[in-house]
Symmetry: C2
Subunit: 149 residues, 2 copies
């Protein structure tokens, strides 16, 4: 697991470096749809992870959800790197890129640690790290457009 996550992090970093050249060829709508798919993954897996703790889903799946969250968090930093405003993102994502990308990197590192802890010790060991890892709201409050009600 550790090796996988190191691999994922390395890949994410390498991709972020080479990204602008690649994504310049993509249409803005493609870039937005792509990052929406990553955020959809994160939302679905965070909900599934919570369900395992609430007795609404098998407790044994906690680790699988944590592993997906860790990899999808790596995907997210890559997906937001091209400066394409729109979708559910506020312009602040790119206006405050240093802060946004720092938060995204922390998110990837913390979910990787969550997954590693869950793999070694199960949900009981990992649960105390959840609040520090799943900082969805803190980031959404600043960087996501308010959801339509």
């Amino acid at each position: 697991m550790t090796r996988l996550l190191q691999f994922a992090a390395g890949l994410a970093f390498a991709a972020a470096l080479t990204l602008p050249a690649i994504v310049r060829a993509s249409e803005p709508d493609d870039v937005i749809e792509y990052r929406k798919n990553i955020m959809k993954t994160l939302g679905a897996q965070a909900a599934a992870l919570n369900a395992t703790l609430q007795g609404k889903a098998p407790a044994e799946s906690f680790t699988l959800h944590a592993q997906v969250l860790a990899i999808a968090a790596s995907e997210a930093l890559i997906a937001f790197t091209p400066k394409v405003e729109g979708g559910d993102s506020k312009p602040e994502v790119w206006a405050k890129w240093d802060d946004f990308s720092k938060k995204m990197k922390e998110f990837a590192a913390n979910t990787a640690d969550l997954a590693k802890t869950a793999e070694a010790g199960g949900a009981a060991a990992a649960q105390p790290k959840m609040q520090g890892a799943l900082t969805c709201k803190g980031c959404h409050d600043t960087y996501r457009q308010p959801l339509k009600k």
Copy 2:
């Protein structure tokens, strides 16, 4: 990666064995919402994987998407094990459980192989295995309610 996937497969198997006792405590709506979150993950990551091949997203992320698909496929078998009809599932899921679960296990095994191949040789090596791994439509045609248009 291989160790992770072996771990994921072992966990999925163990969870499937112990699942009925756990999920009996869940409300039917919880079971349906949970499996919808897994299928949402699979749909979003399959779309993202395709985007990397179509030049709509960074090619380097192919492997990350394949890894998520492999883990989420393991989650899916667990999520459908409790016989709770409804949501987007046809009753055939449980009426033909032997066939459905066989297809789900193949899906998990084939996406695990896809991820392993991508990790070793990148998208170019893994691409020939995509059609055999991402059998979404074949299964949806039989087991998913038609989508509303």
